[in-house]
Structure formats: C-alpha cells, structure tokens
C-alpha cells in the first residue's frame, strides 16, 4: 500500500519533469538563419542606415558663423576630452550594420546586379560613416568585418588616416560602379543613387585634397593633386549626367514643397506616419540652436557682385534691415529680413525679439518655418555642392580657374535667380525695399582683377553663402586651415538700431554692433584643435589607442 503511494508520487514528479519545456524561442524576432533571402530582406537590412545617417545641422554651431544661446565649447576652444563620443559610437554602430550586411548579402537568391546594387549601398554607407570618424579623429581603427568579444581587432591600434581614406574611396568606387542613376530607379526615390555616391566621392576627395594641401604639417602618402583631380572628375560626372538641376525656388527648396526636387541628391526623410520630423525647423526658431552672426550676414555679396566692403550699393546697417537692400537674393532667403512677414503671424512684420528669437539679432530663414512638426527633407547632399566642389577643386589644383569652368559651376549657381524675378515661394519684398530681384553678375577672372578681389576667397564665399547653415562650414574651416584665424574672433550680431530697439541694452563694440561673445573668451589651438580627442573610455579599454596631439 505504502509503496503504491510512493510510486504515485514519483510518477507525478516524473510527469512534472517531462512537461517542463525549457527551450523557448523568440516570439517577435527573426533568426539570422531564416533571413537574407530576398531583395526585400537586403533592403530591410539597410534601412536603419537611412534613419541613422547623422544629420549634421548642428555642425554650424561650432563655427563663428552662428551663435546659439550659450557659448559653444568647440568654437570657444573649451571643449574637454569626453569619456564617450556620440559620433564615435554611432558611426561604428552603423559600420557594423554595413559589415554584417556585407558578410551575408550574397546568400540572397537574386541576380548579381541586384545584389551588387545593395552591396554598393552598404559600402557607400560604410565610407560615409568612416568619413565622419576620420575627419573628426584622424587615424581610427578600421573595421571591415563583424567582431565578437574574442576578436583581436577589438584591441588593435589606430589605422592610419591614409589607409582609411583609401578604403573609403574603394568603397565609394564600388558604389559608383554598381548603383544605378536616379533616373534608372525612379520608383526608388530616397535610396542611394550613383549620383549620391559620386557626390560623396567628390566631397571626400575635396576634403582631403584641400586638407593635405593646406595642412602641410601633416605627413601623408596621399597626393593632394590626385585627390583634387578625383573630386573635380566626380563632380563633373554628376554635372554631365544631367540627372540633377537647380530648383528655382530657393525658399521652398528647404521646406516641404521642395521635397524630392531635382536638386536634392541625398536626404533624410520624415513623415508623420513614421513619426519622425525634421528637427531643424524647430531648432532654428524655438531652441535657438544657432543664429547667424554678423560674419555670415556680411558674407553675402552686394547685388553688383562685390563684397559689401567694396560695393557702392551697400547702404550700411542702420536703420534696422537696411543691410538687406541690394544684396545677393539668397540673403533674405537665408536670414529673416526685418519687416518681411513674421513667421508666426504673417500679417505682422518681422522684428527680431532679442528675448525669444535670437541673441544676435539675426535669425535663420532657411529651413524655417514650415508647419511643425516639419516633414521637410533634411538635405544631406544637393546639386550645388557638386558645382562648388568642381570650382574649388579646379582652382586648388592649379591656383587658377578658367572662365569656362566658372561658367559651369559658380555662374550656373548664380543663374538660379533671374534679374527682375521675385523668387518663387520667397516672400515678396515690401515697399520699403527694392521690389525686384537683382541676380548676381557672373564671376570671371577679369571681374576679379578689375575689382582687386581674390578668386579663392570668392569661390569660398560662394560656398559659404550657398550652403550656409547646412553643416559644411566647420569642415571647411578645418580643411582650409582657417579655423585658427577665424574662430578666435568676437562673435557679433546686428548693429543695434536705437530707433527699433530703444529698450535693448546689449554690450556693443566700437562700431555699435552687438557683442554676443567677446574675443577674450575664444580660443583655437592650431596644434590641437584640428582634431578631436579620442574618447577617454576607448583609450582606457584599449591602451593601444593613442590620444591625439594636445589632448
């Protein structure tokens, strides 16, 4: 009897043990084994890269062209070596995604051309993210496979910048060779195209072409002329492809209306259904991430093509808003012109409110102000960059440029505006200022000599004003090696007009311009600040990583 009971109990225990199912598998994730089959799998494996492509709008806050609500530590020279660095982490995270893709994509059962197109996208992005790393940190560990905890590469040393640049150019060349032009994949707007790959090639080549030309203190095996030639060729290929053209409406180009116009080569996209929005519109108006300084405002030419210091057409700064008369039409479309309709209440003229708008007295108009949250594309590459790269590379190769080359680049860009036109989508100027647009005259070698100008300065100026607030400026002053001169200067705002601003008390310089950050608080160490510090944590985890000079 007792034995039966024990057997009964034992039986229940056995029953227990047998129904104990301890192998559980994920319910909502895929396994690597059942993925990598179709074209759509490959596309899905790349899509996160589009979402994380590091829109760079904040980069301008690191320059003297803008000032936010507080002194920027980078442009003030007060940046300290951090433990971790967001760009370092994000770039390597995306690079791993590309490496994972490149390890697995060939398993898909699709044509080689299809496979190579997406491998091209992956390699495009790998180069794109290495560019972020290498221009910020110089030599960085180069990783081109997926590492795990036992990989020795984790604890390797930094790869030389030359090598990384060459690898990037290889990746980009593969992308150029295998990704179709936009017109061949029309239904696929938003994905990487041959044009985007070429523009990246031109961008990288120009960056290092000029960098090595001006940073003679840096030793490199790369020949800057080769790079500049590559930049020029790539830009020319884009121009000749006729895939892209200038969008007439410089105002709407940066708003929703301009989404996917023929000028946009690579963008980060937003929709309310994907629940993402373009942060620039908000940051320009509300968060005051950065506002234009006098330096940027002064860069716009007078409508006779001369700098304001030389132009008889320049009417001075006071009364408030006068400086906008007789200027490059892009000026009033980049910076909010006083007395233009206000962004919040279009029935009212805009007058800068130092309290809520800007500490400089200027506020950006480019990218501002659409419906919030804005679904305007964040433009990462647009056609004018190719035109500007072409002109700059051509000039820097020989320290001269032909009028023909200027015509297909700078002058093509200036021809976006036609004299007499009111810019489409732009705000019709009110009666107090000139009612017609005056397009800038052509830039020619004779114009330079006649007026005692410097061709390099004018080519660079065209870049500064065309691409203002689009994230190029900091890279430019680094590669031109002008940061050491440009950053340690006072940041100024508008000339304070006592009629318009009777109650505003601001520190002013001798000429009556608002000082937003005095020169005494600005620094740039040319032996140190051309590169950023390697994050301290990375060095402590991997002692083979050496720190950059001066940090």
């Amino acid at each position: 009897m007792k034995i039966t009971k024990y057997i009964f109990i034992l039986g229940i225990i056995t029953l227990f043990a047998s129904c104990a199912k301890l192998d559980k598998y994920p319910l909502t994730t895929l396994s690597p084994a059942n993925f990598w089959n179709t074209e759509n799998d490959l596309r899905m494996a790349l899509n996160s890269l589009y979402m994380n492509d590091l829109p760079d709008n904040y980069m301008d806050s690191q320059t003297a062209d803008t000032y936010g609500t507080a002194a920027n530590t980078i442009s003030s020279g007060t940046y300290l070596a951090p433990n971790t660095d967001g760009i370092w982490i994000n770039a390597y995270t995306q690079i791993r995604t590309t490496n994972d893709f490149l390890t697995n994509y060939s398993k898909a059962q699709i044509t080689d051309a299809q496979k190579n197109r997406y491998a091209g996208e992956a390699r495009f992005f790998r180069a794109y993210f290495y560019f972020w790393l290498v221009k910020r940190f110089g030599d960085v560990p180069y990783v081109d496979k997926t590492l795990d905890l036992s990989s020795s590469e984790l604890y390797g040393s930094r790869t030389s910048r030359d090598t990384v640049v060459n690898k990037m150019l290889d990746d980009i060349q593969f992308a150029i060779n295998n990704i179709p032009q936009q017109s061949a994949i029309k239904s696929d707007i938003g994905r990487i195209t041959k044009g985007a790959a070429l523009t990246l090639q031109a961008r990288v080549a120009l960056y290092y072409g000029t960098y090595f030309k001006f940073h003679t203190e840096v030793s490199t095996n790369l020949k800057y002329k080769d790079l500049l030639t590559l930049a020029q060729t790539a830009a020319k290929t884009v121009i000749d492809s006729k895939e892209y053209s200038l969008y007439k409406d410089y105002r709407n180009l940066f708003l929703q209306a301009g989404n996917d116009c023929a000028e946009q080569i690579m963008t980060m996209r937003h929709t309310s259904s994907a629940n993402t929005s373009n942060g620039r519109a908000r940051s320009m108006i509300y968060d005051l991430t950065f506002n234009p300084t006098k330096q940027l405002a002064d860069a716009f030419l007078s409508s006779d093509g001369l700098p304001i210091t030389k132009s008889p057409l320049f009417n001075g700064y006071v009364p408030y808003g006068t400086e906008f008369s007789n200027r490059d039409p892009r000026m009033a479309l980049t910076i909010w012109r006083p007395n233009d309709p206000n962004y919040q209440t279009p029935a009212q003229p805009f007058v800068c409110d130092f309290r809520t708008n800007s500490s400089t007295g200027y506020i950006f108009k480019k990218y501002a102000f659409d419906v919030l949250p804005s679904t305007a594309n964040d433009i990462l590459m647009r056609y004018p960059e190719d035109l500007l790269i072409y002109a700059e590379a051509a000039y820097e190769l020989n320290n001269s440029i032909s009028d023909a080359d200027l015509d297909i680049s700078i002058n093509a860009l200036r021809a976006r505006f036609i004299t007499g036109d009111v810019p489409i989508g732009g705000i019709a100027p009110n009666t107090t200022t000139s009612s017609t647009i005056k397009a800038l005259p052509k830039l020619t070698n004779s114009f330079i000599t006649t007026n005692g100008l410097d061709m390099r300065a004018e080519i660079r100026r065209e870049r500064i004003v065309e691409l203002a607030a689009e994230g190029f400026r900091y890279d430019d002053i680094i590669r031109w090696k002008t940061a050491e001169n440009e950053l340690p200067t006072s940041l100024l705002g508008i000339k304070l007009d006592k009629v318009t601003f009777p109650t505003i008390t601001k520190p002013l310089d001798a000429n009556g311009f608002v000082i937003v950050q005095a020169v005494s608080t600005r620094f740039f160490d040319k032996n140190k600040n051309y590169l950023f510090p390697i994050p301290l944590q990375e060095i402590s985890y991997n002692p083979k990583l050496t720190q950059n000079q001066g940090w």
């Binding site: 494996a45 003030s76 206000n342 809520t356 949250p373």
Partner: protein, 1052 residues
C-alpha cells in the same frame, strides 16, 4: 505545590466560597439554576476590572455575557443542563477559555481566572518558504508583521505599513501621484540588476500593491539566505511572503471598515512674486550682457496689475500668480472594506471580502488625476475527508484605474511644468482671455482642462488551489496549482490645443506642450502566469530528536503579450479612438515573450531537545533564459541555532527569559538583468523609414551579440543573529549582522565601442554589502494602561568591488550638471555615489576669480561664482588646472541608518500609537534646474529660496551669483550636495474602541473609531522646498502627502 502567601485573591476567593452556603440554595431550588462566579486577576494578583465573560452552552444554545466588577469579580445565574464553556477576555491580555463543565443544580461554580498579559508571543507561528515554523525554532533572519500593523491606516499599499516597522527595509518614493507606489529594498543593494524582492502572495508571485491590505493576515520578510534559498534563483533580494486571512470564528463575522483622508502636500517650493521674478530675470540677463527680458513697461504693467502686455506677436507676462499654490492644494482619499467569514465546525471555512479605495489627485479639480482600486477575495477551505484530505482555495481579483494627463515626454508632466515653466508672471489667461503660454511650453491649466486624458487600467485575477493529503501519520503531501492573469490597458489621448498671441492664433496646428500633433495611443498587454507545485513534508519526533523534511518540485510558465496602436491627427479632436486618426497606425510594437522555470527544492530541519537547531535548504532551478550550458543553478543554505536559554544553567535567573544565537550561510540567485532569449542570435524588425514607395519601411537589425556563457548572479549571504528576551519577554531584542556578496554580478562588459553592437552583460562584477539590524520591543501593562515601544535601526553599505572585466582606474564622467548621479557606478565605491568637484564657497572679488584656474579655457568667471578646488592632476598632485582629475567622491544618495520608533498605548478603550521614521544619513543632489532659474531657455520661474543668491552683501548665499547661462556654476560639485537626513512623524493614531456590554446577544461585537495622521511633520536640514523622502534629485515631482484621516472599524 508551593504555598502561596495570603493575599487579596485568596481573601476574595474564600468570601465567594462562603457566600454559597448562605444564599445560593434558595434560588436554585426555584429555578433549576446554578451560579457561576469568578475572580479575574493578573499574574501579580491585581483584580482586572471590566473583563468580559462569555458563557456558552452549545447543547442548549444558551449564550450570555457579563463583566467583572471593581473587585474583579463576576457572577451570573445560568440554567443547568448541557456543557458550559467560559471565555474570559480583557484588552491587553491573552483570553482564556474553560470548557466542558456540567453544572449542578443549585451549586455555585467558582472559577479562578488568571490572565496573562499579551506580551511577545513565543509560540507565534511564522510563515516561511513552503511552510510554517514556530518563531522560537527559526534559525534565519525573518521579520513578521501581522494584521494589526495594517488595519486602520489610510495606506495605499502594504509597503507603507512596512516602512518603519521592519528593520533593514529601505522604503523610498519617487513621487506622490495617485497610483504611484513606494519602492523598497531589503538589506540595501544586492545587484545593479535589481528587480526587487520576490513577493509571494498565498504561494503565487505577485505585486504587493495589488493586495488589499485589509485582507492580509501576516507578512513575513525573509532577509537572509537561510530563509530565502528555498526560493532559489529569484530570491537574492529577499522574499516577502504574504498570507491572506482565513476565518477563525465559528460564528458568522462581518467586518466593515472605512476611512476618509484629507491630504495636503508635504513640502513644496514657494514661488517669488512677479515683480521679484522680473527683477531677478533682468539681473541674470544683464550679468551676461543680454537684453532685459522684462522691459520697464513690463514692470510698470505688473505694478498696475496687468497680467500681460503685447510685444509684437508674443506676450510678455506680467502677472502675480502662485501656480504652485493654485494647482497643488489638497486631495482626498477614501477606503471601504467589508468582509464576511466563518469557520464551521465541520471544517468548512470561508472568508469573503471586498474593498474599494479611491484617491483623488491634487489636480482633480482641473483635469484627470486619480486612482481607484477595488478588490474581491474568496478564501475557502474545507475538509474533504477529515484528517486525510483538505482543500484550500484562494481567489482574488483586483481592478485598478489610474487617470492622468499623458505627456509624450515624461519629464514634462504637470508638476514639472508647474515648477519650471509656469512663472509667477504668467497669468492663467492673457489679456485677451486665451490661455497664456510661455514659448511653446504648456499652460498646466490648459493642459489639464483641454490637453486630453490618460487612463491605465489593470486587472489581476489570482487563483491558488491546494490539496493537502495526509496518507500516513506525520506525512503531508500537497499539490498546489495557481494562475495569475494580469491585463493592462493604457489609453493616452493628447489633444491639440491652441496657442494664442496678442495678434491671433500662433503656429496653427499648435500643440500642447511638447507632445506633437493630437494623437491617441492605446496599448493592451496581458501576462499569464501558471504554476504547479508538489511538496511533501514529513515530521517525526523520536525522543529528543525532532526532524522535519520537506521536498518539492515546481514548474512555472509565463507568457506575455503586448499590442499597441498609435495614430495622430485625430479628427474632431474629441474622441480618443484609433479609427479617428488620419495617419497610418504606427508604433505597433509587440514585444511578446515566454519563460519557464523548473525547480526542485528540499529542506531539512533538525532539533535536539529544542535546544540545538539545524536547518539545511537546497534548491535547483532550471531557467529557459539560459543556454543549455548554464541552464541549472544550485542554491544551498545552512543555518544553526542554539537556544541558550533552554540550557540548565540559564534556568535559575529571572532576567533573561529567552536567548538564541543564530548563524546562517547560503546562496541565492538573481536573474534580473537578463533578457528572455539572450543566448539566441536575433534580428529585430522595427522602426519606420518613410521611402515614398514604402512609407513605412521597416528595418532589420541584429539585436545584440548573443551570449551562451552567462549564468545566474550568485548572491551569498552570511548572517549572524541573536534573539534575547528579558523580564519574561517584556523586552525582546533581535540583532543581526550580515555580509552579502554578489559574486558574479552581471554587468556591462567594457569593450571598445568599435564592436558596434550592444554587448551582452557578463558575470564579471562583484558587489559586497555589509550591514546590521537591531530591533527592540518593550511591551508591558501597568494596571489599565498597556503600552509598548519598539525601535528598529539598521544600516548597510555596499561597495562595487569589481565593476568590469578589465581593470580600470576610476574615471569619472567629465564635467556635467548633475547627471553623474547613480548611473556612474564606479569600482570601489557604493552604488549611490555622487562624484564631482570639491568646492570652497564663492570667489568674493573679481580678482580672486581672474587669477584662478579655469575648467579648460572656460571664460568669464567672476565674484560670486563657485570656487572649485584643484585637488589632483595626472600625476596625483594638484596641477593648477580644474579638470577631470579633480573629480572625486562627494556623497552617497543611498539612505543610511534607517530607523523606526513605534509607540503604542491603550487605556480603557482608548488607544494611541505613533510611528516615527527616519534616515540618519543621506545625501541629496540638487539638480541644476532646481537651483538655476535662468540656466535654461525653458526655465520661467523662480522660488523664494532662489532669492538667496550671492551678492557682495550676501557672501555666503545658498546659490552663486544670479546669472543667465553660466554653466560654470552647475558642474557636478559638493556645493549642490545637501543633507537629506530626516526624522518624520510617519503616523499618529488616536482611537477609541467601544466593546458593548455582554448582553444576551451583542449585535455589535466591536466598534473602533479613530483619527490617523500620516507624514504629519518632519525635521530635515534639506532645503525646505524638497521632500527628503523622495529619491529624485530635482525635487520637482508630484509631492508626497500629509494625510489627516478619520475612520471606523465595525464588527458584528
């Protein structure tokens, strides 16, 4: 038998006996009755006045009651026949029952009743893992609370009742919002992967906040590994066993209790006046050469009593509004509970209860803010076959609903915007009658009234069923099955509301706060937990040897499902329905998962002559969360006790009445900090990227590096304890010392981030926590006054002995503004450490500042800025620079020296109790938005304490100079560390119990009415704008409440 000295008792007794001969006979002859007489007295022979006497006769169904008189004597005439039983009870004493008496006709039956004071009960049975044990035989560290500790206080959760009453328990709150509950830790930190103590309610893992505290019979807090190891892999942070009530009385007993509480916030900052704020704002702007935000016209408007003046398309607000006072005045809470129970002689017992609690929030008058909870419970047990088969079932249902204002971004909730963005100059309405708003931020009043609603409903159904089978003598086999089903539904409706300027509507689809377009989020989840257990217990006593053996197996399965829908652009902006959205349904996340745990466990108890006690536990757990390589974990424990007081040499002294020395060692596990499938390589599908031809293109991403090499965290606890009772246990003392070591804590692998993927945690850390606990109780009665005082004090300190797989010198995050708290776990320091600069007041002259090293090249420091100390450099010596080498340990936010003092007294039906609770050591870090009103562009208010800033005339001010945008002063530094030690009158109760005269059939058996006050007052050196009990650094949270409540408790 010893001869007792002649005393009052004997005199009275003799008189009683004699009286029988003179008058008893006549009466009896007529009525066939007998007389029952008795003397009720205490141990020291003092007569007890007013003791209740209940006389019962089951056969004749006779019941009567009486009370003792001033001499302690009672007398009653009763009919003869049948068997009588007599129950004598008196408050503060253990009741006594005499039963089985056949009375003789005409005779006088005399009882001598000596009642013993209801002191600390050594025979108390304590619920332990998978069983129960006599308290005297315990060898582990266990604290128990009983129903008395829960009744009659307006508590939101049993956790509130444990605060201050359990030594070694740290209770903290993050806010006082209805529906938010305090969190607690047993014996300090156990792991950086904390999941809290394992809560077992009637055998099922559960949530303490879902139990109606009025239903609880007892709570056992198991603290050391000897008592928790039997719960194995989830017991590392201690185990709390909750047992609900079961019927005790063989009569139907109905109990009704109700409580109404009025609540006001404890400590809140007081805003400055509009004028003062404008002056401060202007001064702060001028300090950085910025324009005055408030022009002369604004100050003039304030003087004239205008609320706002137009400034172009925007308003300048010029009002005098105390938003804090306006919005945070008071709230209410109500509670009602009814229970019915009966324990029938045939073995059927039932206890049914229902309870309802409603809490209104502070903001209830303006918008959704409240919490409601109701519970049902049915506890039924019966003997299927007497003494052979017994069935027990416990089923409960809890439904709770929390109403709130949803905010897309949690920190922008109502109290926060009130504290940070609703300045005194901001009126409710601007001069045109629209809700005023600062920048794009919200107006709390508008948000409350028009901003939408959030609603979280949770339903929990628990059922546990036990079948106890006694096949042979001393053996009990139990089969236990249980399910817990939890369904949660969340609806959050963010409504678009308008923003107006003086010239009209601003930015057309303007949105309230930071939330975006009007949107609806609806989510549903359900969690199903099932378990089956089989246990067998065998108890045997052979001469002086007493054994008890427990063995069991259990299987647990959980499945969790989640579904969420989100849509924006709600048509008409009125109804929160997904189908009214204009966007596609997005964010449909579904992180469903399953896990299983199979376990086997056993326990051996052995005692010799009840003097030498020994216990061993063993549990093995197999979890689905690990690869087959590391699936099983083993958790042993051993403990021993020596009851010294049972030894012969202790018998002949009257001081120490109980003495036990305990010692235990054991291991438990922790599986928090693990995902459900971490050892399997996975690709997660998620996100959306809007390609035109695929507007919601999803992406596939590797979920992280899989790891097959991980295992449970093993937490080892060594415990030494002593229990002493003095003076017949009037005074009892329990003290414990423990060392708790998490030997292989799961922590982030320090791996160069070029790996580019999230890396699994590894068993590489080590955390050691040492601590002690002392609790003392004195309980006595002086004549009619019973009183007790208990005190508990505990401390523990943890140390992260190993924090990484590589040896890294402590590096602290670079300069920041208070973000170093807690997250910066650093090897060699406790987990709640704060790191920052040491400071030495302020620079008093511009020259002091000018000559002082800056942080990096930080410019523009001057008189009134904080002086950071250069304490070290790259070589360990001061280097004339203020940089990361000067960052050091500056404090600890973990509460230390936690104490509770409980005082209770009763007299003639009145009772009084007070609970004083506090923390003797804790640092509180003031976050920068609490101390710098003008640091951030979104800051729009200032408080009176912020008027105390540095000026030449106020060189030792609380805050540095008043300036806009000086990041210098808001580096993490000891300047912002405050002493948050506190002592608080946690609860005060005064009650009166009405015990009706024992007539034939008392309708009401007990009625108690009381006043109870919670968080009545406190003392703390912390800035009086913040509550020291909150564990947030800014203090800008939903305040916790002082509560004043009245209640009653009625039994019949």
């Amino acid at each position: 038998m010893k001869c007792k000295p002649l005393n009052l008792k004997w005199i009275i007794f003799t008189v009683l006996l004699l009286s029988q001969f003179f008058n008893g006979v006549n009466v009896n002859a007529q009525l066939k009755t007998s007389i029952v007489k008795g003397l009720v007295h205490s141990e020291n022979n003092q007569p007890l006045v007013g003791a209740s006497v209940l006389i019962k006769n089951i056969q004749t169904n006779f019941t009567a009651g009486t009370k003792s008189d001033t001499a302690g004597v009672f007398s009653m005439q009763v009919p003869i026949g049948g068997q009588y039983s007599f129950t004598i009870s008196f408050i503060g004493y253990d009741p006594k029952t005499f039963s089985g008496y056949n009375l003789k006709e005409g005779a006088t039956f005399v009882l001598d009743v000596e009642l013993k004071p209801n002191l600390i009960n050594l025979d108390q049975v304590v619920v332990v893992g998978y069983g129960s044990q006599k308290k005297v035989n315990l060898t582990g560290a266990v604290t128990t609370l009983t129903a008395e500790d829960f009744e009659n206080r307006p508590i939101k959760s049993p956790v509130d009742a444990m605060q201050g009453n359990v030594a070694g328990l740290t209770v903290q709150s993050s806010n006082g919002q209805p529906g938010s509950f305090s969190t607690f830790k047993i014996r300090g930190q156990t792991s950086i992967n904390s999941g809290g103590a394992l809560i077992i309610i009637d055998g099922l893992p559960g949530n303490l906040n879902n139990v109606n505290s009025q239903d609880i019979e007892s709570i056992s807090v198991l603290k050391d590994a000897a008592s928790t190891a039997i719960y194995g892999a989830r017991a590392a942070e201690g185990v709390i066993l909750v047992t609900t009530k079961q019927a005790k009385s063989d009569k139907i007993k109905v109990n009704y209790s109700a409580n109404y509480a009025y609540q006001t916030p404890t400590r809140l900052p007081k805003p400055t006046t509009g004028l003062k704020f404008m002056q401060m704002a202007n001064e702060a702007a001028e300090a950085v050469n910025a324009a005055d935000p408030f022009p002369a016209s604004a100050i003039d408007a304030n003087a004239k009593g205008l609320g706002s003046i137009a400034n172009g398309s925007a308003w300048i607000f010029t009002s005098n509004t105390d938003w804090v006072k306006l919005l945070m005045k008071s709230s209410n809470q109500q509670e009602h509970n009814i229970s019915i129970s009966k324990s029938a002689p045939n073995g059927l017992k039932y206890f049914f209860s229902t309870g309802w609690m409603g809490q209104d929030g502070l903001f209830k008058n303006y918008g959704p803010d409240g919490y409601k909870q109701y519970n049902f419970r049915s506890n039924i047990s019966c003997d299927i076959i007497q003494n052979v088969l017994k069935f027990d079932s416990r089923v409960s249902y809890t439904n709770s609903t929390k109403d709130y204002i949803p905010t897309g971004w949690s920190v922008w909730d109502i109290p926060y915007i009130t504290f940070v963005q609703m300045g005194p100059t901001m009126p409710i309405y601007d001069s045109l009658g629209h809700y005023s708003r600062f920048r794009k931020q919200s107006n709390a009043m508008q948000l409350l009234r028009e901003g939408g609603e959030g609603n979280k409903n949770q339903q929990t159904l628990n059922g546990s069923f036990t079948l106890d089978f006694y096949p042979i003598k001393d053996l009990k086999v139990s089969a236990f099955g249980g399910v817990t089903m939890t369904n949660t539904g969340i609806m959050e409706f963010n409504r678009t509301a308008e923003r107006w300027g003086p010239l009209g509507l601003l930015d057309n689809p303007a949105v309230v706060g930071q939330g975006g377009l009007s949107n609806v989020l609806i989510s549903k989840d359900n969690n199903n937990y099932e378990t089956v257990q089989l246990t067998a217990t065998y108890k045997k006593k052979i001469n002086n040897h007493e054994f008890s053996l427990l063995g069991g197996v259990s299987q647990e399965n959980t499945k969790y499902d989640y579904l969420q829908g989100y849509r924006t652009g709600i048509i008409a902006n009125i109804l929160p329905a997904l189908n009214l959205g204009t966007s596609g349904i997005t964010n449909t996340a579904s992180p469903s998962y399953e896990w299983s745990l199979f376990s086997a466990f056993s326990r051996l108890n052995y005692s010799y002559k009840s003097k030498y006690l020994f216990e061993a536990n063993f549990r093995a757990d197999a979890s689905s969360r690990f690869s087959t390589k590391h699936r099983w974990g083993q958790f042993p424990s051993f403990s021993a006790g020596w009851r010294v007081s049972e030894e012969g040499f202790m018998k002949n002294q009257g001081v120490v009445s109980n003495l036990k020395i305990r010692s235990s060692w054991g291991q438990t596990g922790n599986q928090n900090g693990l995902g459900y499938y971490d050892y399997i390589a996975q690709y997660a599908v998620g996100g959306y990227y809007p390609f035109p031809n695929d507007p919601q293109a999803q992406w596939v991403l590797a979920s992280g590096l899989p790891s097959e090499d991980r295992t449970w965290e093993t937490v080892e606890i060594l415990n030494e304890g002593i229990d002493i009772g003095f003076f017949k246990n009037r005074l009892s003392v329990t003290a414990d010392y423990f060392i708790k070591t998490n030997k292989n804590m799961l922590m982030n692998f320090a791996v160069p981030s070029i790996i580019g993927i999230s890396v699994p945690t590894g068993n590489v850390g080590q955390l050691k926590t040492k601590g002690w606990e002392v609790s003392m109780t004195w309980k006595d009665r002086i004549n009619k006054v019973g009183y007790n005082i208990s005190l508990n004090l505990s401390d523990q300190l943890d140390n992260l002995e190993k924090y990484a797989n590589v040896n890294i010198a402590p590096t602290f995050a670079g300069p920041g503004n208070g973000n170093l708290l807690k997250t910066s776990y650093t090897q060699g320091y406790p987990m709640g450490s704060i790191f920052g600069y040491k400071t030495d007041g302020y620079f008093q002259t511009p020259a002091d500042a000018a000559n002082y090293p800056h942080i990096g090249n930080t410019p523009s420091i001057t008189a009134g800025d904080i002086k950071y100390l250069d304490i070290s450099g790259p070589d360990g010596k001061p280097d004339g620079k203020i940089d990361q080498f000067d960052l050091t340990y500056i404090g600890n936010t973990t509460p230390r020296y936690i104490f509770g003092i409980h005082i209770g007294a009763d007299w003639n039906g009145f009772d009084f109790s007070a609970l004083i609770q506090g923390v003797a050591k804790r640092d509180y870090y003031l976050a920068s938005d609490a101390v710098s009103p003008f640091l951030y562009p979104y800051g729009n208010t200032a408080f009176t304490y912020q008027e105390n800033y540095w000026t030449q005339g106020n060189p030792n001010a609380l805050l540095p100079r008043n300036s806009n945008n000086t990041t210098w002063n808001y580096q993490s530094s000891d300047h912002w560390v405050q002493n948050a030690a506190y002592v608080r009158l946690k609860n005060l109760q005064i009650g009166y119990s009405y015990v009706p005269k024992a007539t034939q059939k008392p309708l009401i058996t007990k009625l108690r009415i009381y006043f109870s006050g919670d968080n009545l007052c406190e003392y703390s050196k912390l800035l009086n704008a913040f509550d020291p009990e909150l564990n947030v650094s800014g203090g800008y949270m939903y305040p916790i409440m002082r509560s004043f409540s009245f209640g009653m408790n009625l039994s019949f």
